[in-house]
């Protein structure tokens, strides 16, 4: 992974820590999760679970093995039709077990370097788990290494920027919070 896309971590606003965290990042390629995961110190990897879309990663033996076997991902339902229950339930359970999460609040891959609008999941998690640190992560160059629709990545030097924990503002509206969260990633670009 390091050889191929050189996922080099840059801890700009915080240091690696075993404090419980939600890492939220811009989503630009299929290898984003792998990139953040490999940028984390190996001691933290076991306690950090990426969140992945069930409709994509549960398809086919290879994807399922990679998502569940290798990355220990938490799979969630993306589309409203498939949902039987609260889509955030698996995430809440993981956080209750004391694990950290990697999430992509845009919900889908963008084609630009900067993230698009966030879905509300991050807001609800923030409210349900007031003690968990929210760490913005900006993935640089991954959208170039593996743009939407290609099979194999090209080896570019990709940098994973970890920002300062997002401050909590009491009585902030959902929209304001999500925009502020998005801005914290843009600020790392």
């Amino acid at each position: 992974m390091k050889m191929l896309v050189g996922a080099y971590p840059r801890w700009e606003g915080c240091l690696p820590s075993d404090a419980q965290r939600i890492y939220f990042a811009n989503h630009t390629s299929h290898i984003d999760t792998l990139a953040i995961w490999s940028a984390l110190p190996s001691a933290l990897r076991a306690a950090t679970r990426p969140v992945a879309a069930k409709d994509y990663w549960n398809k086919g033996a290879l994807r399922r093995h990679l998502a569940i076997g290798v990355l220990n991902a938490v799979l969630i339902e993306r589309s409203r039709e498939d949902r039987q229950s609260d889509p955030l339930q698996p995430l809440s359970e993981t956080l209750e077990q004391g694990r950290s999460l990697i999430i992509f609040p845009e919900g889908t891959r963008g084609s630009e370097s900067l993230p698009g609008a966030f879905k509300s999941g991050l807001f609800h998690l923030m409210q349900r788990f007031p003690a968990v640190e929210l760490i913005p992560v900006y993935l640089e160059n991954l959208h170039r290494a593996m743009p939407k629709g290609v099979l194999l990545p090209i080896p570019l030097i990709c940098t994973i920027h970890f920002g300062a924990p997002l401050l909590r503002v009491s009585d902030e509206s959902k929209e304001a919070f999500l925009e502020r969260a998005r801005g914290s990633i843009v600020a790392l670009a």
Binding site: S111, R144, P147, V150, L152, I154, P155, L156, I157
Partner: protein
């Protein structure tokens, strides 16, 4: 003396040089008073440390033989191309040509050296790659800035793969009376080019006044070039005994390496600046990226190769 004896003598010289440099670095460190001086000395010391690592890797690979040397340079090309493309703006439509550059052009170019197919080695990139890469890019149907994008990829491949591959290609030369010793020519090229860089850096820091191209490469001065260049030519002449050249011919070859190395540093510095960067990367401590270290070799290798081939092989 056989190849290995010559090699060990050269390494003894290089290690003595590095020990001296490390000692001077340590003395300067204890003497540096102001913050700016300390920063310069710190950079100097990390450069010297990086030199130890680079020399160790090269010596090991040299002793492992011909195939290992070719693989080492393939690896260098890979890292250099990765740095070049990382800094170069590319678009979605460039994905296939870029993928081919990394995973087809580099292996094929170096396999051709490994198998000793000189004819195809010399034209594979300038003819086949340079015609096919833009054709594949065109299939992506994005005409936006097509010429610029094509030029960027071709120039990246030219500098990091085609040019660099001429250093290990010295192994293909069949020089009368010099059979089995070609690997020493690679060592010669690398040493003269790098000693020239180092002496230009040192002599520029000590005596540099007149900048040659301040907008492109502010650290290059006329005093640095002349002082460092003369030094490197003398060192290159003194190493004639590991080459098929006479002492005077060795000085002539060193002059070419110094000149091309200087021009390579200048041209690639301009490319780097046009991309808005100061260093190509950060993988070699104190030096910047791989390309910062091999820019001079990239320009010197093909000319040194062809002059040697024309006059001596």
């Amino acid at each position: 003396m056989n190849v290995h004896q010559k090699f060990y003598w050269m390494m003894a010289g290089v290690v003595t040089l590095l020990i001296t440099a490390s000692l001077i670095g340590a003395i300067l460190k204890s003497k540096a008073r102001s913050d700016s001086k300390r920063a310069v000395v710190q950079n100097l010391n990390s450069r010297i440390r990086a030199w130890w690592v680079m020399i160790a890797i090269f010596a090991l690979v040299f002793l492992m033989g011909r195939d290992a040397t070719v693989v080492l340079f393939a690896f260098v090309s890979f890292l250099a191309l990765r740095e070049f493309i990382t800094l170069t703006p590319t678009k979605r439509g460039d994905h296939v040509p870029l993928f081919l550059s990394f995973f087809v052009l580099i292996p094929v170019q170096y396999l051709l050296i490994g198998y000793g197919w000189y004819g195809l080695f010399a034209i594979f990139i300038p003819v086949y790659a340079f015609l096919l890469l833009p054709a594949f890019a065109a299939l992506a149907e994005d005409p936006d800035h097509f010429l610029e994008r094509t030029a960027k990829i071709q120039w990246a491949v030219m500098v990091t793969v085609f040019c660099v591959s001429h250093a290990p290609a010295l192994l293909l030369l069949d020089i009368p009376g010099y059979q089995g010793q070609d690997a020493l020519l690679i060592l010669y090229l690398l040493l003269v080019a790098q000693i020239s860089d180092v002496l230009q850096y040192v002599s520029g820091k000590l005596f540099g006044r007149t900048k040659i191209a301040p907008n492109v490469s502010p650290s290059k001065t006329r005093e640095g070039l002349i002082g460092g260049g003369i030094g490197a030519i003398l060192v290159g002449g003194a190493m004639w005994w590991i080459t098929p050249f006479s002492p005077l011919q060795a000085m002539g070859m060193s002059f070419i390496i110094v000149l091309m190395g200087f021009l390579g540093g200048l041209a690639l510095s301009a490319v780097k600046r046009s991309l808005g960067a100061k260093d190509w990367g950060s993988m070699i401590e104190g030096h910047g990226g791989m390309l910062d270290r091999i820019d001079s070799i990239s320009f010197a290798a093909p000319i040194f190769f062809h002059l040697t081939r024309f006059f001596f092989a």
